[in-house]
């Protein structure tokens, strides 16, 4: 790499590994405990995975499909595919069988990452010739099918080093769905686009290396790539993955991230958590709390505001894991009035960022062919809130 600014995600990853090798890059919760990887470890893992993919025939322009919830293996393997000049295509694991079949037919991925045995079975039932990578997150007995590769066996230590093959105008991520009229559309995000947008976000939101971000949305969402993954490699903050989507609220409370990026539904769900912790809406205690949260004027205003902060606002921010948040972003449509009022009262300013997308219609192909096909399902873009 020269002294010029990196222009692809893998180059930014190497940049972070070179300049901040021991800083924490990635944390994930597994089996009830948090595990951390430094930038050097992340870069080494991605390089080894890229070498393993290349040894099995993955080349520039190939597609890697990821049928997974947000988990560190999906992220590392996405970066490994991009390292090799390929494109990562996350798909929602909740996708129906018919939609999954359509996606496989048109995308013709070189490899598919499946998060567990059930997804492996589903994928193989659709297409026996698939090469499936089993994430095998619990390190139990690997899937018995001969075409299934254990994720742990994929990493290949390369003595000479495996140089990134990604190009700035090459596709980094792709997302696919069925349009309302049943036609297939896709959205491709190049490295250059992601880097440019991430730089804008980092500057606007003043993100820095000491920030903590929390990846609690579906992995198969374009905004996850735009507002979390690309800014992560650019600014070098810590990215945290929850144990599962079902435990994300507890996990966020444990971490208290400084950067939260969600949709209006994410924030509505968090607002419901607050509501659940407060006394019933008609009780006198609730009315008192609501009145205090609305703010007080007059001679006792400052005193009441101080008491409200210490007795109500601060504990509630702790409960929802927003105690340290300085960048709360809502992607797409803004918050509804009730949720916005709540976050305002909790003194958490939520700023809206667009979820602009450029969906292109894809010509559907009747027969699968190698190596490149396209497609998917509308659910692929729907995050699990």
């Amino acid at each position: 790499m020269t002294g010029a600014q990196p222009s692809t995600l893998p180059d930014w990853l190497r940049h972070q590994a070179r300049h901040r090798p021991h800083a924490l890059a990635l944390r994930h919760k597994r089996l009830g405990a948090w595990h951390a990887l430094s930038w050097r470890e992340v870069a080494a893992a991605v390089e080894q995975l890229a070498a393993g993919l290349a040894q099995r025939g993955f080349a520039a322009g190939d597609a890697l499909l990821l049928v997974s919830q947000p988990r560190e293996q999906a992220l590392l393997l996405s970066l490994a595919a991009q390292w090799s000049g390929g494109v990562a295509i996350p798909l929602d694991p909740q996708l129906g069988d018919a939609a999954l079949r359509a996606a496989l037919t048109h995308l013709a991925p070189r490899f598919v990452l499946a998060e567990d045995d059930r997804q492996v079975d589903r994928l193989l039932a659709q297409e026996q010739a698939l090469q499936v990578i089993d994430a095998n997150p619990r390190h139990l007995t690997p899937h018995p099918h001969p075409a299934v590769i254990d994720y742990r066996a994929l990493a290949l230590a390369s003595r000479e080093g495996f140089a990134p093959a990604a190009l700035p105008h090459g596709d980094a991520f792709a997302f696919v769905r069925l349009n309302d009229d049943g036609h297939l559309v896709e959205q491709r995000l190049t490295h250059a686009t992601l880097v440019r947008e991430a730089r804008h976000l980092v500057d606007s939101e003043k993100l820095h290396a000491n920030d903590e971000a929390f990846a609690a949305r579906a992995f198969a969402a374009a905004s996850q790539a735009r507002y979390l993954i690309a800014p992560w490699v650019l600014s070098g903050f810590r990215l945290n993955f929850p144990e599962s989507l079902a435990t994300r609220d507890n996990d966020r409370r444990e971490l208290a991230p400084t950067l939260v990026a969600g949709t209006r539904d994410t924030y509505a769900r968090v607002a419901q958590l607050v509501d659940d912790r407060l006394p019933g809406e008609r009780s006198w205690r609730r009315r008192l709390i609501d009145r205090a949260l609305r703010g007080q004027r007059g001679p006792f205003g400052p005193l009441i505001r101080t008491l409200t902060w210490w007795l109500i606002t601060r504990p509630l921010r702790d409960v929802i894991g927003f105690s340290r948040t300085h960048a709360a972003l809502v992607i797409g449509p803004p918050l509804d009035a009730k949720t916005a009022a709540l976050f305002d009262a909790l003194r958490v300013p939520v700023r809206a960022w667009p979820d602009h997308s450029d969906w292109q219609r894809v010509e559907q192909r009747a027969q699968p062919e190698t190596p490149q096909r396209h497609a998917a399902d509308r659910a692929s873009e729907q995050p699990a809130y």
Binding site: R30, D116, R138, H143, P144, T247
Partner: protein, 259 residues
């Protein structure tokens, strides 16, 4: 999981009576290592009694049980557990006031290496032991998607989740043979489908051989490698699901035309 060609469990001419009432009459069959074997039959056919014979709760008057090459005329539940046999019950038998994690950890008791004194004083092997047991319990909790309920008291959980916790506790014992007594009783179709998935996961990922009792024939046919049909304490059929489906004796027993 990969099927083995050797029988992990063999029942040889088992007969069991309760004060003159014949619960089981001369039943023999084999369960291959790695398979899922379903015991089916009408109520009172002797299915639960047979499970109780396998794990030593009942002692048969005749016949023997061979588990992993060792023949037993008399096996008590303690030895059965030590030999690698775990079970769940028709009615939920959990510690209702304890958390899911603590319930699952009780399944690890046989694998603890530290003494009660070391555990009380937290000295010697206790710390490493606790870490190892907790880690395995967490693997099971993760496999059965119970993470969000980890610290929740079991008594407050929905019925379907409690059944899953019971399966988790049995799996935590690292059994080689898992006996499941109606694991899907009282569940709706979606819950049954999910539970069947967890049983398959247990069979494949944990490498455990499963003998289960289930009334839902659809579930049995989809889930099992091998089906044994009992009626009035006797075995009336034994074979692959496809063979059992058209067996006239089985149809007669289920439709009530034979008695």
């Amino acid at each position: 999981m990969t099927r083995s060609t050797h029988a992990l469990l063999s029942l040889d001419h088992i007969s069991l009576s309760f004060k003159g009432v014949k619960a089981i009459t001369d039943i023999s069959f084999n369960v291959q290592a790695g398979e899922i074997c379903a015991l089916i039959g009408p109520n009172g056919a002797g299915k639960s009694s047979l499970l109780n014979v396998i794990n030593g709760v009942y002692r048969p008057q005749r016949g023997s049980v061979r588990f992993d090459g060792n023949a037993y005329r008399r096996m008590n539940p303690y030895h059965a557990a030590h030999s690698g046999i775990a079970r769940t019950f028709q009615n939920i038998a959990l510690f209702r006031r304890m958390s899911v994690l603590d319930n699952v950890l009780t399944g690890r008791n046989l694998h603890r290496r530290s003494t009660w004194l070391e555990q009380t004083l937290r000295v010697g092997r206790a710390r490493g032991d606790e870490t190892a047991q907790r880690r395995y319990a967490e693997v099971v909790i993760d496999a059965l998607d119970l993470q969000r309920f980890r610290h929740t008291a079991v008594g407050t959980l929905p019925y379907g989740v409690q059944k899953r916790v019971e399966l988790a506790r049995a799996l935590a014992a690292e059994p080689r043979l898992l006996l499941l007594d109606e694991p899907m009783a009282g569940m709706n179709a979606d819950e049954k489908r999910a539970m069947a998935g967890y049983v398959l996961d247990a069979n494949r990922q944990f490498g455990v051989t499963v003998v289960l009792i289930e009334h839902d024939i659809g579930v049995v046919m989809d889930l099992s490698d091998h089906v044994v049909v009992l009626d009035y304490g006797k075995k009336i059929a034994d074979g692959a699901p496809a063979d059992i489906r058209g067996n006239p004796d089985v149809l007669a027993a289920y439709l009530g035309t034979r008695h």
